[in-house]
């Protein structure tokens, strides 16, 4: 029983990162009108930036800011590509955005495989990982890394939900999510808000990269694919674009994955995510929380 509780705690920490990833992915889907498959890949390359900065400067503060800035810059850099697709005449072609994002993902993987650390996985310093024990009761252990991850994730998720549901900027994002033509007619500055959206997604991605590096302590060129597939699965299971659904499903996946690792080899966790996805698609094709709306 104690082992299961310990695994659930691990799962909540991991799940909270999935929640942030899915929130960023859904935000890009709803407001940016793109399927940003490369989002987790940018998170992973930001982890590489963090690792590099730590190695170079040994200064955690520089690493933190550098990671966030690199993630924001990468997002701002890819924005014109998606803008070009979405501002073409005719209805927005979300499938094209998926292909472009997939291309970005492959390029980033190639860069990580060949140019960074000779393609070998990277390991973060032990002091960065915050692996010291914050609380220990028999087998139940909560590391400071897990605690940070959980606290920061809750704070960020809360801040994002306040931004979306309580601020004028959030209302504008939701208006764009509902109908971009009406939003344009309303006088909402779509281009400026789109750039801001990529900035916010970049900020979120940078924070996720920091949390991930503290929680798992390593990264490899293939980590992006591993996370991206899960994020896609969670987003589809919850219902593409369903922010609240993504929150619940992300957390559930984290917990289930941690429990599975206890009973089965870890490599089964991806299969499980996709089994869940297949099952949900069969019975609820639009996801469990089935409204494709930021409101739901």
């Amino acid at each position: 029983m104690k082992v299961i509780i310990a695994q659930i705690i691990n799962g909540i920490a991991l799940g909270s990162i999935y929640v942030l990833l899915v929130t960023g992915f859904n935000l890009m889907f709803l407001v940016g009108k793109i399927i940003h498959f490369a989002y987790p890949y940018i998170v992973v390359i930001s982890m590489y930036a963090c690792w590099g900065l730590l190695k170079l400067t040994n200064n955690p503060l520089i690493a933190v800011f550098g990671t966030i800035i690199s993630s924001i810059l990468l997002h701002i850099m890819v924005e014109p590509l998606f803008r070009h697709i979405n501002t073409r005449k005719g209805p927005i072609d979300i499938n094209s955005s998926f292909i472009v994002s997939l291309g970005i993902a492959l390029i980033l993987t190639e860069i990580m495989s060949h140019q960074l650390n000779y393609g070998f996985p990277i390991a973060f310093p032990l002091n960065w990982m915050s692996s010291s024990i914050f609380l220990e009761i028999n087998l139940i252990r909560i590391s400071t890394g897990q605690l940070y991850t959980l606290l920061v994730s809750i704070l960020i998720a809360l801040a994002l939900f306040i931004l979306i549901y309580q601020t004028q900027l959030g209302r504008a994002f939701r208006a764009i999510a509902e109908n971009i033509s009406k939003a344009r007619l309303q006088g909402i500055p779509i281009l400026r808000l789109n750039l801001l959206l990529y900035g916010i997604a970049g900020l979120l991605g940078g924070i996720i990269a920091l949390l991930f590096s503290m929680l798992i302590g390593s990264a490899s060129p293939w980590l992006g694919e591993y996370i991206a597939l899960k994020v896609l699965a969670v987003a589809i299971v919850a219902g593409l674009g369903n922010m609240k659904g993504g929150l619940i499903c992300g957390l559930v996946l984290g917990i289930v994955e941690s429990l599975i690792i206890h009973f089965l080899p870890g490599s089964w966790s991806n299969a499980l995510a996709f089994l869940m996805m297949l099952f949900v698609i069969l019975i609820r094709p639009r996801g469990i929380f089935n409204k494709n709306s930021i409101e739901s």
Partner: protein
């Protein structure tokens, strides 16, 4: 408010809008004086909506000029034009159905949010039904209430010119009269109105001037009182 014919606030000169080889608008000239109600009439596909969309910046003219308050605005975007005082209420009202009534009104004041409180008081005084519905999701309002919300949203902006694209479409005769009375009331409060309508009988009752569009060209224009009796209008729209 009596229109000030001396003060032209919106002027369109030789405007052409083309989609490839197809002319949506051809050499259109139009003037609107401050405080006027101007009605654009024409059948489906005549170019009324394209004209309104060009003024708000959604369509870019291939040729010609749009001058608002002595500034050339033909290359401006909708966000700039809306902030500068022109607002378009589209055919479906342009409301955000998944947002609440209050959120819709807040978005109406997007560029002037610091003045939200004073503006909402004015809007609620004009349209008391919105006060009871503030927390309601806009998509659950009745058709007539959604039109009222569309007006409320427009008034939350800094608009001087309200453009309406077929506001009476799909409404019952009772609501149609109400809509036109609201338009007249807004005009009396100082708003200049540019209205695209197919309901010529109602629209011509309230209009100061009428422009008739056919195949993207202005074929007739003049005072509403004169054009109502014009044989071409009578034949095409009044059935006599």
């Amino acid at each position: 408010m009596a229109p000030n014919r001396e003060k032209i606030i919106l002027k369109i000169e030789n405007m052409t809008v083309r989609y490839g080889p197809i002319f949506a608008l051809k050499k259109v000239n139009l003037k609107i004086a401050q405080g006027e109600i101007v009605v654009l009439i024409g059948s489906n596909g005549a170019g009324k909506s394209t004209l309104l969309k060009s003024i708000i910046g959604l369509e870019k003219p291939t040729e010609g000029h749009i001058i608002y308050q002595e500034k050339e605005i033909s290359l401006w975007g909708p966000d700039h034009i809306t902030r500068f005082g022109i607002f378009l209420i589209p055919e479906d009202g342009g409301i955000f159905r998944t947002l609440t009534v209050e959120e819709n009104l807040q978005l109406g004041a997007y560029h002037f949010f610091s003045q939200y409180q004073e503006r909402i008081e004015v809007v609620i005084k004009l349209f008391p039904v919105l006060k009871e519905r503030l927390k309601q999701v806009a998509g659950t309002l009745s058709g007539g209430e959604q039109r009222v919300l569309a007006f409320g949203k427009a008034l939350m902006s800094n608009s001087r010119i309200l453009m309406l694209d077929e506001p009476s479409i799909g409404l019952s005769p009772k609501y149609i009269v109400q809509i036109f009375e609201t338009i007249q009331a807004l005009n009396q409060r100082g708003y200049t109105i540019l209205l695209a309508e197919q309901n010529v009988i109602q629209a011509s009752k309230y209009a100061n001037r009428i422009y008739v569009l056919e195949n993207g060209q202005i074929v007739l224009n003049g005072n509403a009182s004169d054009l109502r009796n014009h044989p071409r209008i009578k034949e095409a729209y009044f059935g006599s």
